[in-house]
Amino acid sequence: MADKLLDAKGLNCPLPILKAKKAINEVSPGGTLEVLATDPGAVADFQAFCRQTGNELVEHSVADGVYRFLIKRAA
């Protein structure tokens, strides 16, 4: 289980990223954030976001039109 869950379903670019940024700051360093989104653009965007911010995209998957991202906050 992630330390924090962010439900960004139904939100469009750039809201999932903006809300994820806020949420990851509420997780302690090394902790994890799970993000749920329905924006297909979120896949490329979360990869870019993590590469740039140093937070680790541990895994991402899609099921029934919902994208799930597990992000580990940079220590």
Partner: protein, 168 residues
């Protein structure tokens, strides 16, 4: 989301000149600025000419289909473009604005008010062009709190040390 966070692990910076204040043109600068801030980029936005009213306390953004042959709105299963001769009629701007705002809400797109709030929270530097303030007779009290006033030299100083400079 804090700017200090960005300063520590990433020295990248971006400046944006915001020159347009219609509902459609307000999106690119605010989307890029807030996303950049979320990616630890230090952002500065310079609001000039018709972009300046985007700093007003109360926003009332409009869109106009006049002179926009590229503006195709989804309607009744297709994309409708509006001939200028129709777009010039009274009430068309208001109708197009309502339609755009409904689409924005329906598709989960952030409002400009929402993005601006994030920009303020993320400590993005918001600079109002002093000359435009004088030209169009605005007072600093008409604008949201926390903005700075500046001119071309202020912008240039920012731009010269920024990694990315955009004019929108």
């Amino acid at each position: 989301m804090t700017a200090s966070n960005g300063a520590q692990n990433n020295a990248k910076s971006m400046s944006i000149i915001v020159t347009k204040g219609t509902l459609d043109w307000a999106y690119p600068p605010f989307i890029l600025a807030t996303t950049a801030a979320a990616m630890d980029v230090k952002v500065s936005m310079f609001f000039t000419f018709y972009g300046l009213p985007l700093l007003k306390k109360k926003l009332d953004l409009q869109i106009s289909p006049l002179g926009k042959p590229d503006m195709a709105m989804p309607m009744m299963g297709m994309h409708m473009k509006m001939p200028n001769v129709v777009a010039m009629l009274p009430g068309v701007n208001a109708a197009a604005t309502t339609m755009m705002k409904n689409l924005i809400k329906k598709k989960g797109v952030a409002s400009i008010e929402e993005l601006r709030e994030v920009a303020v929270e993320a400590e993005i530097e918001l600079i109002a062009c002093q000359m435009t303030m004088d030209l169009f007779e605005y007072e600093k009290s008409d604008m949201i709190d926390g903005i700075k006033l500046g001119g071309a030299a202020t912008y240039m100083e920012n731009a010269l040390k920024s990694d990315i400079n955009l004019f929108i």
